[in-house]
Symmetry: C3
Subunit: 338 residues, 3 copies
C-alpha cells in the first residue's frame, strides 16, 4: 500500500506491512504527543474536520493530532451540511471542500458515503466513521494498543489470545478490529456475547480462513479465562431497531475487579473502545477497575492521537521531516507525566 496521497477509507486497504508501517510511524509520534517536544512540520496545512454526526472524542482527537503536527483545523459539526440540505451531491461537496483544505476527515451517518465523497476529492480523505460501516482509525489504534501493551510482556500480536465481550453484532469497532487481526498469525479469539448479539457469520468466517481459533461463549466468566486481552464493548444502543430491544441487553455482561481476579491471569490487559456506559444499569466495565494497572482504556485513547498523527504524516508524506521541524516545549507538562 502506498500511503502518499491515499484515502484511508477501510481496514480492507491494509495488509500486514501497511499496518506495521502505521504502528512504526505512531511510535515515532510518541515524544510529540507526550509534549517532550513540538513539531511544526505541517505549518500552513489545513485539515477540514467534517463531522455530520455528533462526536466529541474522535473529532477532537483528529483535530488535536493535526495541531500537534503544526497544522490548522477548520471544523464542521452540523448534523447535516447546509449545502447537502439544499440538494447538493456528495460529489459537489467534495469538489468544493477539497479546494479549501489539504486533507479531510469525514464522519457521516450513511455507510459508503465517505468512500463516495473521497472519489471526488482533490485531497486525501480519512474516514472518521461512516455509520455502521467502517472506522479504520479506531481499529488501528485498538490493534496498536494490543501490540504495545503485550510488547511490555514480551509478546507480539502473533499468537495472542483475545476475548471480545459484549455487543459483537452492532459494534463496528469490533468488526474492523477482527479484519485487521486476520493479517496476523495464530490468534485465539473468545467471542462472548448473547446469542442474538453474536459476531456476524461472515466475520467469523474471515477469522477462520486466516487460520485463527474461534470459540464462542454466552457465559462471560467462562470465556475470559486464559486470554491475554479482554476487549469489552458497550451495547451500541443507537444502532438497535428500538430502545426496548437495546434495553434487554444492557448490563448483561459486567466486568469488575472481583470477576477479573477470580477468572483472569494477573496481567490480563483490559481494553474498551470507549465511551463506556457508567450508568448504574449498564457498567460493562466497573469503575472499581480504575486503579487496576492493566486497565489500558486511557492509554488506548492516548494511542488514538499517535495513530491519527501517523495517518496524517503518511498520507501527506512528511514522516521523514517531522523531526526536522522539532522545537522545545515551553510550558509546564509534568501533570501529564506525573
Amino acid at each position: 500500500m502506498n500511503f502518499v496521497g491515499a484515502h484511508i477509507i477501510s481496514v480492507d486497504q491494509f495488509d500486514r506491512a501497511a499496518a506495521d508501517r502505521v504502528f512504526e510511524v505512531a511510535d515515532k509520534m510518541q515524544p510529540y504527543a507526550m509534549r517532550n517536544r513540538i513539531t511544526r512540520v505541517l505549518q500552513g496545512a489545513i485539515l477540514s474536520n467534517m463531522f455530520f454526526e455528533p462526536s466529541t472524542r474522535t473529532r477532537v482527537s483528529f483535530g488535536s493530532a493535526f495541531n500537534l503536527l503544526g497544522g490548522e483545523v477548520r471544523e464542521t459539526t452540523e448534523a447535516k451540511s447546509s449545502s447537502l440540505a439544499k440538494g447538493e451531491s456528495l460529489y459537489d461537496t467534495a469538489r468544493v471542500l477539497s479546494g479549501y483544505s489539504d486533507v479531510i476527515v469525514m464522519r457521516h451517518p450513511d455507510a459508503g458515503s465517505v468512500a463516495k465523497f473521497a472519489e471526488a476529492s482533490r485531497v486525501p480523505v480519512i474516514n472518521g466513521g461512516d455509520g455502521p460501516n467502517e472506522h479504520p482509525s479506531q481499529a488501528l489504534l485498538d490493534l496498536y494498543t494490543m501490540r504495545t501493551e503485550i510488547a511490555a510482556q514480551g509478546q507480539s500480536i502473533d499468537g495472542l489470545s483475545i476475548a471480545l465481550i459484549g455487543d459483537l453484532r452492532y459494534g463496528r469497532a469490533v468488526h474492523s478490529l477482527c479484519k485487521l487481526l486476520c493479517l496476523y498469525d495464530n490468534i485465539r479469539l473468545h467471542l462472548i456475547s448473547p446469542q442474538e448479539l453474536a459476531l456476524p457469520g461472515d466475520i467469523v468466517a474471515l477469522l477462520k480462513i486466516a487460520g485463527h481459533e474461534v470459540r464462542q461463549y454466552t457465559d462471560m466468566a467462562e470465556g475470559i479465562g486464559g486470554v491475554d486481552i479482554l476487549y469489552v464493548t458497550r451495547t451500541q444502543e443507537e444502532r438497535f431497531p428500538s430502545q426496548q430491544e437495546a434495553d434487554r441487553y444492557r448490563g448483561l455482561f459486567r466486568l469488575n475487579q472481583a470477576i477479573y481476579t477470580q477468572n483472569c491471569a494477573p496481567n490480563t490487559v483490559i481494553m474498551h473502545p470507549l465511551p463506556r456506559d457508567s450508568r448504574a444499569q449498564a457498567q460493562e466495565l466497573d469503575d472499581d477497575l480504575n486503579q487496576n494497572p492493566n486497565l489500558a482504556i486511557f492509554r488506548q485513547t492516548d494511542n488514538g492521537m499517535l495513530i491519527r498523527m501517523a495517518l496524517f504524516a503518511l498520507v501527506l508524506d512528511v514522516v521523514d521531516q517531522v523531526d526536522n521541524f522539532a522545537q522545545p516545549v515551553t510550558w509546564f507538562t509534568d501533570k501529564r507525566h506525573g
Copy 2:
C-alpha cells in the same frame, strides 16, 4: 476606495478601480492557494468568523483563506448568538467581539444587520451575507471568475455577453453581480427566468443606465444562444413565501450537455454560485456536464479563496508583505494539481 481598515459590506462600495484592485491582489494569492508555497504574514492575527445562519461553504472558505495567510480563526456557528438572545444589541455585541479579534466576518439572517454591527466594531468587518440583502465576496468571486475564464479566451469583461438563468428575483448573488457589472462597459445580458421570478426592475434599470443591453427570455434554449457565459442559479427555496410556491419553479430550467451542445458555442463558460440542487426534481445544472471543460463551477469556488484572501490582505494592509513571509510547502500536494 481606501481598503485599509475598511468594512466590506456592500458591492455598492466598489468602483471599477476598487474591483480591479481586488482582482489584482487575488491573482497574487494564487501560489499560496495552490500550495506552491505558504505565507505566515498574518501569524498572530485572529479572525472572528461569526455565522448566525447555517453555512458550510462560505464559512469554511473564509476561515481557510485566513489560515492560508497564517492567521488563527475563532468561530461562532450558533443560529442565534446566546447574548443576542438575552437582549443584547448589535452595538454591544460588536463592541465586545471586536475586542477579541483583528477582523470579523459576519453572516446574519437580517438585511442591514452586518452594516449596523460594523458601525460599532473596532476592527474591519466583512459581510458574509445578510439575509436577502448582500453577499459581496460572492459577487466579487463571480466577476473574478468571468474575468479569468474569459481572459483565457483573449477577452475582457468589457464587451462580454452573459445569460443569467433561473431564479433572478430572490437570488442575492445575481443582484450583487449585476451591480458590479455596471462598473464595466458594453455588456449584453440575457435574463432567463419565469416571469414571476424576473430580475427586479430597479436592477434592470441600473444595468440600462450603465449602458448595457438587456434582453429578457422565458425560454432557456432561446436565451442561451450566442453568449459567452451562462450563469445558472438555484431556486432560492428558503426565500419563498411558501414551499408550494417554490415547488412550482423547481426543475423549470435544466441545462444539460445535449441542450448546451445544441444551443451554445463550444467554449461557452458555465457558472453557478453553488450549491446546485442535484435532486431528481431539480437539476438546474445536470451532472452530465461534469466532464465539460467549460464547466467552471469548481474553479469558481476555488476563486472564492483567492478573493477572500485578497479582501483580508487589503483591509489588514498586508498585501505588500505576503511574499516576505513566504515559506516552502513540506507536504504532498500533487493530488490537487493532478
Copy 3:
C-alpha cells in the same frame, strides 16, 4: 497559591497575593492584547475549549486569549457531549480529553461538575462557568477593572465604595465578586435590589466578617449616591423558576444619563458583567450612557482577555517567557486604537 499546573475552579482558591499576582500578569499582557506586538510563547500548545452550555462571549474570549499567546484551540460547543449522552462519566471524559490537550476550559450547566471533571484531568482545567455556581475569570476581570479604572483616579481597591445594582440573588458574577472583595480592606457596599432579589445572607455575612460596611437599598437613586463604582447587573431570567416570575423584575432599575448626572459624582465608574438587556422593557443600563467616558463596560470585556491570558500563562508557567517570544505586528491595527 501555586499557579503552576493548578486548576482554576473557584474564587475561594484565591488569597490577596494570588489575586494581585493575576492582575500583575494581566498588566503584562496589555501590549499583546492591544496588538502592539504578538507572542508565540504557547506555539504548539492546545486548548480544549469545552462549552456544554451556550456562550459566545466567554467562549470566544478564552479561545482568543489562547491564540494571542500563540496556541491552538480545539472547541466543543454541543449542548451535551455525545459521549456523556451515551452514559460516560465525567471521570472518563476528563481522562480521555486531557490526553488531547494541554489545558482545558470547561463550561457546564451543573454546579460542581467542573471541579469533578478537574479531579480526573491530566492537564490544568479552568472553570468557564458551572451553572449557578462559579465563574472565577469573570469575578477576576471585574475586580481587575475596578482596580484599573480607580487607579486612574489615584485610588486602590482598599477603601473603595461600590454599589451593586439589580438581581443580586441569582447573579453568579456578583456572588463571586463579593467573595474576592473580602480579600481587600475597608470597602463600603451599597446593595440595591428588590427585596426578593437581595444578595444571599451568607454572602452578606462574609462581607461583614471581612470588615466591610454593607448597606441595603430598594431605591436606586438613593443607593447610587456617593459611591466610586456602579456595578449594574441584568436580571438572570434563565435562573428564575418561571418567566412570569422573571418578568416582574424586568426594567425595575434603569440607570440612564439623567439619573447618573443627578445622583452621582462626575467620575463615578459604571460597570456591567454583560450582556446588558437593551430591549425596551429592560434597559437596566440605557444606551444614552454610551458616550459617557465613565462607562467602563467595554474596557471591562477587553480586560477579560488580559485576565484569561494571565490565567493561561500562570497555570502553564510561561509568564517569564512571554516577552522572549515576542514578534512585531504586521497588520493594520489603528482602528482599534483610534
